[in-house]
């Protein structure tokens, strides 16, 4: 039994409206192509054309104003079965509200067809000017003629990469022309020109559709791009996110009794975040709990780079650091970024490169030549130095971390060992 696409021939549009012609020719084209109604997903936009839904035996999806081509696109991404067809009905208004969506569907060359019902104005809302309204065309919001020129929606879709685009006069039997679009692999767009009798004809008496099309440069025709249609990302690897997260077992001892907050502050490109990461992993190898976060300017390659670390023999909940217990400063950028917090310190340690001026602080100040190891190594060296001076974790745990994390090539282990002995 063949189920018809339309439940009725009496469609709910004003007398003479081109939407009627488009709807009937769409279903005729689909029938000619041998589709069953339930193999077709009709996505309709907001506008008079959208009230066709209830007359259709296809699946129907009725979305938001301008967004239906993106909604239809979403459906195509999820369609694994061949032999299905997504068709979007949209008006001239909706097509510019959601212009980005049309461009994106063209660029990705998604398997779907968009039928633009171009009657040069917003019909349902009262005849207002749209982005496709031709120059000089009267609308309820531009009674002396549209002062602006309209988009060439076909040219835009063509430039964006759609497989097939056509502009069709909405007169007579256009089902074959629609069928070409519907059977295209990849994205197709058909702009059907029509006049809205209720607003367009009334406001532009004596003007003919063909004359409007010609004078506004809306040339009939077909435009093609030879591009492959979208194909699903087959064979994409899905990676278990926990697989490569290796457990870090405690092998060393730490005598840390209370939660200790440490700030490492230096310059971008000087390995501050990596040094903090080595510190944290060594702390975990020493049986401690840790938290680590970084902050740096949005332009990650310049300026300061700060890492905030908490170490604790117990589980850490709150990880904010108002006044740190220890601060390590290895560059002028790093000093500038943390001056305020250093000033608030009433105790603890400030480790600072000897090239820098010591800022006001209540912390015990330890100056050392960190940058002598080379700017890139100043931060990692400072972490070893801090471990040695404070004893919160052992330098062995740091060396082991570098080894086990595969960082021995990257970091100057031998030089650090030498410097520590000195």
């Amino acid at each position: 039994m063949n189920i018809p696409f339309l439940k009725t021939d009496a469609l709910p549009f004003c007398k003479g409206c081109g939407h009627d012609l488009i709807a009937k020719n769409t279903t005729r084209a689909l029938e000619k192509l041998g589709f069953n109604p339930l193999d077709v997903i009709m996505v309709t936009d907001i506008g008079c054309h959208g009230i066709i839904d209830k007359c259709l035996n296809t699946h129907t999806v009725h979305g938001l104003h301008g967004r239906s081509s993106a909604l239809g696109a979403g459906i195509t991404f999820g369609m694994e079965e061949p032999g299905k067809k997504v068709i979007v009905f949209i008006g001239d208004g909706g097509s510019t509200i959601g212009l980005q969506h049309l461009m994106e569907a063209s660029r990705l060359n998604l398997n779907m067809t968009v039928v633009v019902h171009d009657n040069f104005l917003y019909g349902m809302t009262g005849g207002q000017t749209s982005g496709l309204t031709p120059h000089g065309f009267n609308t309820t919001t531009s009674r002396d003629g549209n002062p602006f020129f309209g988009y060439d929606i076909c040219a835009l879709a063509h430039t964006a990469g759609a497989s097939y685009i056509s502009r069709v006069m909405g007169i007579g039997d256009i089902s074959d022309k629609l069928a070409v679009a519907f059977s295209t692999k990849g994205f197709s767009l058909v702009e059907v020109l029509e006049i809205c009798p209720s607003y367009g004809m009334k406001l532009n008496p004596r003007r003919k559709l063909s004359e409007i099309a010609e004078s506004s440069g809306k040339e009939m025709g077909e435009w093609l791009n030879q591009r492959p249609p979208f194909s699903p990302q087959q064979g994409r690897k899905s990676e278990n996110l926990l697989e490569k997260v290796d457990p870090i077992a405690p092998k060393f001892k730490s005598y840390l009794k209370k939660t200790t907050s440490i700030i490492l502050s230096g310059s971008a490109g000087e390995g501050v975040q990596l040094a903090a990461n080595v510190l944290c992993k060594a702390a975990m190898r020493s049986g401690l709990s840790i938290t680590q976060k970084g902050s740096y300017p949005v332009t990650v390659g310049v300026g300061f780079s700060t890492a905030e670390v908490n170490l604790s023999p117990r589980e850490i909940h709150f990880h904010g650091i108002a006044v740190p217990d220890m601060v390590v400063v290895t560059s002028a950028d790093g000093l500038a970024h943390n001056k305020q917090r250093i000033a608030k310190m009433q105790g603890g340690f400030l480790f600072i490169d000897e090239s820098l001026e010591v800022p006001p602080t209540g912390a015990e100040v330890i100056c050392h030549d960190f940058r002598g190891m080379g700017a890139r190594n100043a931060s990692i060296f400072s972490v070893f130095f801090l471990a040695l001076k404070t004893g919160i974790i052992s330098t062995e745990s740091l060396f082991k971390t570098i080894e086990e994390e595969g960082l021995s090539e990257k970091l100057p282990v031998a030089k650090i060992k030498e410097a520590l002995v000195a």
Binding site: N36, P37, L38, D39, I51, D53, K54, T58, H59, T60, V61, H62, G63, L64, R67, A70, L71, A73, G74, I75, F77, G78, M79, E80, K84, Q100, E104, P232, Q233, R236, S238, E239, N240, L241, L242, V245, D246, P247, I248, A249, P250, C280, K281, M284, G287, L288, S289, I290, T291, Q292, K293, V298, R314, E315, I316, H317, F318, H319, G320, A322
Partner: protein, 372 residues
């Protein structure tokens, strides 16, 4: 506080746990676009889920998700206020069409672009009113790394079983900070079973069973599916405001209220004889945990409530607060949004607030208010 086993400890961030749990629960696709502080989620989503689509903008993100959802897939995205604001109309669409999806909202400091790399808890009241008609949309808030795992899976479950978009609410500090974490504490995630309508008799896209309509994807060809963002009847056909369509809109509200009753998530650490209660959700719960512990060590008796289901809001939260002599609600905003959600403008005399702008609330600030 109990020390956990140390054999399985890793250094990890909450974003990784969230995406992995969502994938295990049945999420199929991540639709993303870059926004700080949700970028880690985007990165992990692209590595983990079967389908990854880089959307050109926020509205497209939600529209693509809706389309995918209509085909029976469970899509996920992650964003922050600036992007979320642009998604609003489309989330309303998905809510009205009853399309399952998970939206991770990583809060950052506003208004507008505000400070992209500064955390905040400023979006709760927006969430409460974000559906036109103020119908509730499920909002689950993570309080720790175990929540990043458990609640992410629950979000997928709620989305599918209630046929609705779900907001998984978190904030910058929860998804970007690395912490040592015991993987042994993670529960097994059971994939959410997706049931499709399988009867021969007529299918109506919005005919409910226990408030939720049976689902069928638009890719099958046994029954006609009609999805509609406009006011519609049970068949999914647009109606102005007739009895059937109004009943359908009412059902959307009732669905979330009734069916979320089996998804009330919170933890209550009651101390015997305590007349004081600390309440904190999201990022502030870590400070509340420390404050509770320190107060108890000082000999103060205090209980702690960490709400996780924020919307719809269990009446139990209010009832519990009314049973205490002093209640301190702590959240990272300056207008006490959770308090307003519970009490409107009429805060009971026993309820006090600790707020903050541009920085995390510390345990000491909460303690000070509790003992004031």
């Amino acid at each position: 506080m109990q020390e956990k086993t140390k054999g399985n400890r890793v250094l990890i961030d909450g974003s990784r746990l969230m995406i992995e749990a969502l994938a295990r629960a049945g999420a199929d696709a991540f639709i993303g676009y870059p926004i700080t502080p949700a970028n880690l989620l985007y990165q992990y989503g692209s590595q983990r889920l079967k389908l990854m689509l880089p959307a050109p903008d926020e509205i497209t993100t939600l529209q693509w998700m809706s389309g995918l959802s209509a085909t029976g897939q469970l899509p996920v995205t992650a964003t922050s206020f600036p992007g979320f604001a642009l998604m609003l109309e489309s989330i309303n669409m998905a809510y009205m069409m009853e399309l399952p999806m998970v939206i991770i909202l990583v809060q950052r400091l506003g208004p507008a672009t505000g400070t992209a790399t500064c955390g905040a808890q400023g979006d709760l009241l927006l969430l409460r009113g974000m559906i036109s008609g103020a119908h509730p949309i499920p909002v689950l808030a993570t309080a720790d790394f175990n929540d990043c795992w458990d609640l992410a899976a629950k979000a997928a479950e709620v989305a599918i079983n209630l046929r609705t978009p779900v907001v998984l609410l978190t904030s910058k500090e929860e998804v970007m900070t690395q912490k040592s974490f015991d993987m042994g504490t993670l529960a097994k995630v059971i994939p959410v079973e997706r049931k499709h309508y399988d009867l021969e008799c007529e299918y109506k896209s919005y005919k409910p069973t226990d408030f939720v309509p049976d689902f069928l994807p638009v890719t099958q060809n046994k029954h006609q599916v009609r999805l509609n963002a406009s006011t519609h009847d049970q068949t999914g056909i647009l109606q102005h405001s007739n009895e059937e369509s109004m009943a359908n809109t009412r059902r959307l509200e009732e669905k979330v209220i009734q069916r979320m009753k089996s998804h009330y998530y919170y933890s209550l650490d009651e101390q015997k004889g305590a007349k004081k209660l600390i309440v904190a959700y999201g990022i502030t719960s870590s400070a509340a945990l420390d404050a509770t512990e320190m107060l108890r060590n000082n000999g103060d008796k205090v209980s702690l409530l960490i709400p996780r289901t924020l919307i719809p809001t269990p009446a139990f939260y209010r009832e519990l607060m009314m049973k205490h002599e002093r209640v301190v609600i702590a959240e990272e905003n300056i207008n006490h949004q959770f308090g307003k959600l519970l009490f409107g403008e009429n805060t009971p005399a026993n309820v006090a607030f600790v707020g903050s702008l541009g920085k995390m609330i510390s345990p000491e600030e909460i303690m000070k208010e509790v003992t004031a």
